[in-house]
C-alpha cells in the first residue's frame, strides 16, 4: 500500500514511560523536533514550529484526535506540500491532512510502539501531477539524473 506509512518499534521502557514521551508536549517536541506552544488535549488544536535544523521555517499545525491513556494517541496534521524553502508556502489550508496514530502495547521487553500515518491517498491527483508541472530546479535536476541513468543503461 502506498497511501500509508507504518512503523513498529519495540522499546526497552515501560508503557507509562513511552506514553509520557509521546504525549507530553515537551518530550514529544524533543524527539519529534518541534517546539509546541502548549500541552496536547483531545479535540484541541496544537500549534508550534519545527526545530529540526534546516526546517525551522515550517509551522506545526495539528488537531489532537484521541488520547486514550497508555493505549492510543492520535492527531491529524497538515503535511507541508514541500519541505524545501524555495517552494514552501505557510498557507497549509489546501495541503492534505494526514492522520498520525501511536499505539502502545506492553511486551515482555517493554513497549511495542506502532506508528501509522495515513491519508496520503487524499492528496488530489492534480497535486501529485504538480510535482511534474513545476518547472523548478527539482524537476530539472531529476530529469538530468534520469537521463544519466537511462543513458548509462543502454
Amino acid at each position: 500500500m502506498e497511501d500509508r506509512i507504518e512503523k513498529r518499534i519495540e522499546l526497552k521502557a515501560p508503557v507509562a514511560r513511552v506514553w509520557r514521551a509521546v504525549t507530553d508536549y515537551r518530550q514529544f517536541g524533543e524527539w519529534f523536533g518541534v517546539k509546541l506552544d502548549g500541552p496536547f488535549a483531545a479535540g484541541q488544536k496544537s500549534t508550534g514550529h519545527i526545530t529540526h535544523p534546516g526546517y525551522e521555517h515550517l509551522k506545526w499545525e495539528a488537531v489532537v484526535e484521541k488520547m486514550e491513556a497508555e493505549r492510543l494517541f492520535s492527531f491529524t496534521w497538515s503535511h507541508p506540500r514541500s519541505l524545501e524553502k524555495a517552494s514552501y508556502s505557510s498557507d497549509y489550508s489546501k495541503d492534505p491532512k494526514t492522520l498520525v496514530e501511536f499505539r502502545l502495547e506492553e511486551t515482555a521487553k517493554g513497549t511495542l510502539l506502532t506508528v501509522t500515518e495515513s491519508g496520503f491517498d487524499g492528496i488530489p491527483a492534480d497535486w501529485r501531477a504538480e510535482a511534474y508541472r513545476r518547472n523548478d530546479g527539482g524537476w530539472t535536476e531529476q530529469m538530468k539524473n534520469i537521463e544519466k541513468y537511462v543513458g548509462g543503461n543502454r
Binding site: 502506498e2 512503523k7 526497552k12 521502557a13 517546539k35 519541505l83 504538480e130
Partner: protein, 131 residues
C-alpha cells in the same frame, strides 16, 4: 547478487522507465490532462492540440508501457486513465516522510531508553526544558 540487490535494481529500472516516459513535453501535457482523475479518450486528448491521433496514440503507448496510464474499455472506445502510483513525486514525498519517521523514532528510543526514568528526570531539569 543478493536477492535484495536484485529487487532494488528492478525498482530503479521501473523508475527509470517512468522517468524516461515523462521526459517529453508532449507526454507531460497528456499526463497533465489526465491528472484530473477522469479517463479520457484519444479523440478527447487530441482535441485542441496540433497532434495527429496517431501521434497521441504513440505517446500514450509509451506512457502505458511505463505504467503511468492504463487503458480502460468503454463500449467501443478505449479510455486512458492516469495511474498515479509510478509518479515519483508522491513516492519521493512518502519516502521522505518514512525516513523522517525512522529518524524521529530513533530519537524517541534514545529518550525513553536513556537510563530509564532517571534519564527522563535529567531531561526535565536540563537546558532543553528551560526555553
Amino acid at each position: 547478487m543478493s536477492e535484495g540487490t536484485g529487487k532494488r535494481a528492478m525498482g530503479r529500472k521501473h523508475q527509470a522507465d517512468a522517468f524516461a516516459a515523462l521526459g517529453d513535453a508532449t507526454r507531460l501535457k497528456l499526463v497533465a490532462k489526465l491528472a484530473g482523475g477522469r479517463p479520457h479518450s484519444i479523440s478527447r486528448l487530441t482535441r485542441g492540440t496540433r497532434m495527429t491521433r496517431q501521434a497521441v496514440t504513440k505517446h500514450l503507448r509509451v506512457l502505458e508501457n511505463a505504467g503511468i496510464v492504463h487503458r480502460v474499455r468503454a463500449g467501443r472506445e478505449s479510455l486512458f486513465r492516469l495511474d498515479p502510483q509510478p509518479m515519483i513525486g508522491l513516492k519521493e514525498f512518502l519516502n521522505q516522510v518514512s525516513e523522517q519517521w525512522d529518524q524521529a523514532l530513533s530519537r524517541l528510543q534514545s529518550l525513553v531508553e536513556r537510563e530509564g526514568e532517571s534519564g527522563e528526570n535529567r531531561a526535565r531539569t536540563g537546558d532543553a526544558w528551560r526555553a
